[in-house]
């Protein structure tokens, strides 16, 4: 599965600037991909848990991103049931702490053999563990913007811009089968700018939010669609 699209407002090319565009975003390119290793599917009463990969392995995923994906995959009709990650980690303490969490699906069998672990996971109804990796970085920026205030009023002049890259991956492990089911990823590149002629007009590319929504949508489809691709 592969989806790429550019989300640049058409008005940008004509340089039409109005106050109303402050509500619009900057320019973004989104790429969402999924790769299945095995057939998936989820039954009534089963859920998934979404956990941020360990910072001990160098991962720096923002906590807010995990919260966003968790919220998005539950939304609307056909939303997935998500078991709270903090409750899951407490239930299985200390085997899902940043230092001890399994580093790959190969570690699942040994983990399930630990006393009480398989029973506790079964009780929780969790079928899939989704590991989130990645982050958002500012990659470039420039321009200048200056503002001044005087007795007669104030204003800003100039143009400031910057680019953000949001790149995330969700690795899906099937606990029932004890192996990897595959992964989905979302990469969003966005350019934000603040042009100002008296009034600054922020045109913000919310790359992290776009990556969250793209990843969550793909993740939902990945798990629900039963066939292996």
């Amino acid at each position: 599965m592969n989806l790429e699209r550019a989300a640049c407002p058409r008005w940008l090319s004509t340089c039409t600037v109005a106050v109303s565009v402050a509500l619009l975003g900057g320019c973004m390119t989104t790429r969402v991909e999924g790769s299945k290793d095995a057939a998936t599917g989820i039954a009534e009463g089963q859920s998934i848990v979404i956990i941020e990969s360990s910072y001990h392995s160098g991962n720096q995923t923002e906590d807010g991103f995990v919260d966003c994906v968790t919220k998005e995959v539950q939304k609307g009709r056909g939303g997935l049931s998500v078991y709270p990650d903090e409750v899951f980690q407490d239930d299985l303490f200390p085997w899902f702490e940043p230092r001890t969490m399994p580093q790959g699906p190969n570690a699942l069998p040994a983990l399930m053999e630990r006393p009480g672990v398989a029973e506790r996971i079964r009780e929780s109804g969790v079928r899939y563990i989704v590991w989130i990796n990645g982050n958002t970085e500012r990659t470039n920026g420039g321009g200048s913007l200056s503002c001044a205030v005087g007795p007669g009023g104030g204003g800003c002049y100039g143009l400031a811009w910057w680019e953000n890259d949001s790149s995330y991956e969700a690795a899906v492990w099937d606990i029932e089968d004890g192996k990897s089911a595959g992964a989905v990823s979302a990469a969003v590149h966005g350019t934000s700018m603040i042009p100002a002629v008296v009034v600054p007009v922020p045109l913000i590319a919310r790359t992290q939010n776009a990556a969250c929504k793209g990843l969550a949508k793909e993740l939902r489809s990945f798990i629900v669609t039963e066939e292996s691709t």
Partner: protein, 237 residues
């Protein structure tokens, strides 16, 4: 007005939390746990003039809750005792904090608040003789955008305490000198020296730990970890 500006501000991190019960098979031993006043009233303070801020961390009661939660599940029997020597137990454990460090996002050039806590767990025989002293260094970090105010630092402290608990549980789940000392065995000087070199706090995912833990520029340890000789580790000092 100037004095108000120069006064800076204080951040008081009161760690009041509970810890989950570990999911482990208990070791068939009865241990006494000696909680020292230094541990149960532990407070760490540090002034950061460059940030115009002083930080105070109160961990006392949380420390006791942490060890009660761990030891009550990892041993078949555990009870508090008044001294390192106690009758009717296989061993007495005496946890202490040896050092506390923290970092702000500015110091680690990241978005993370970080906390390191170095504990030592003294393992004594029922006669009060020191069998070994096991160092445990817990690390926790939390995204600065996750919580407001000093709640982020509090959560990073809780993460460091949970990490320390994880290391203790893992050390007791494997054939370590710590486990042997608790079970009544002896620890040789060679084993003790090996453990010091291996830094037990970083045993599990040792390939990534040192890189992920940012270097600390401030928040220096309030008490340096003493260099232990083999004899001290062997309980012969």
């Amino acid at each position: 007005m100037l004095s108000l500006i120069g006064a800076g501000c204080s951040q008081n991190v009161q760690v009041q939390t509970t810890f989950p019960e570990p999911l482990v098979e208990p070791l068939p031993v009865t241990v006494g746990v000696h909680y020292t006043e230094a541990l149960t009233t532990y407070i760490y303070s540090e002034d950061l003039p460059a940030d115009g801020m002083d930080w105070t961390f109160s961990l006392g009661s949380a420390n006791q809750l942490l060890f009660e939660s761990v030891f009550s599940e990892v041993f078949t029997n555990s009870r508090p005792v008044d001294a390192p020597a106690a009758a009717g137990v296989d061993a007495v454990l005496q946890p202490n904090i040896k050092a506390f460090e923290f970092s702000l996002p500015r110091h680690s050039r990241s978005d993370q608040y970080g906390v390191w806590i170095s504990y030592t767990i003294g393992v004594y025989g029922p006669d009060g003789e020191l069998r070994t002293s096991w160092p445990v260094k817990g690390y926790g970090e939390v995204d600065s955008r996750r919580f407001k105010g000093n709640e982020t630092m509090k959560q990073a402290t809780v993460m460091a305490m949970r990490d320390a608990a994880t290391i203790i549980i893992d050390s007791l789940n494997r054939d370590t000198a710590f486990r042997r000392a608790v079970m009544g065995g002896t620890v040789t000087a060679v084993e003790a020296a090996d453990q010091l070199g291996a830094a037990p706090g970083y045993e599990l995912h040792d390939e990534g730990v040192d890189e992920s833990a940012p270097e600390v520029e401030v928040g220096q340890a309030n008490e340096e970890m003493p260099e232990l000789t083999g004899e001290e580790w062997n309980g012969e000092s």
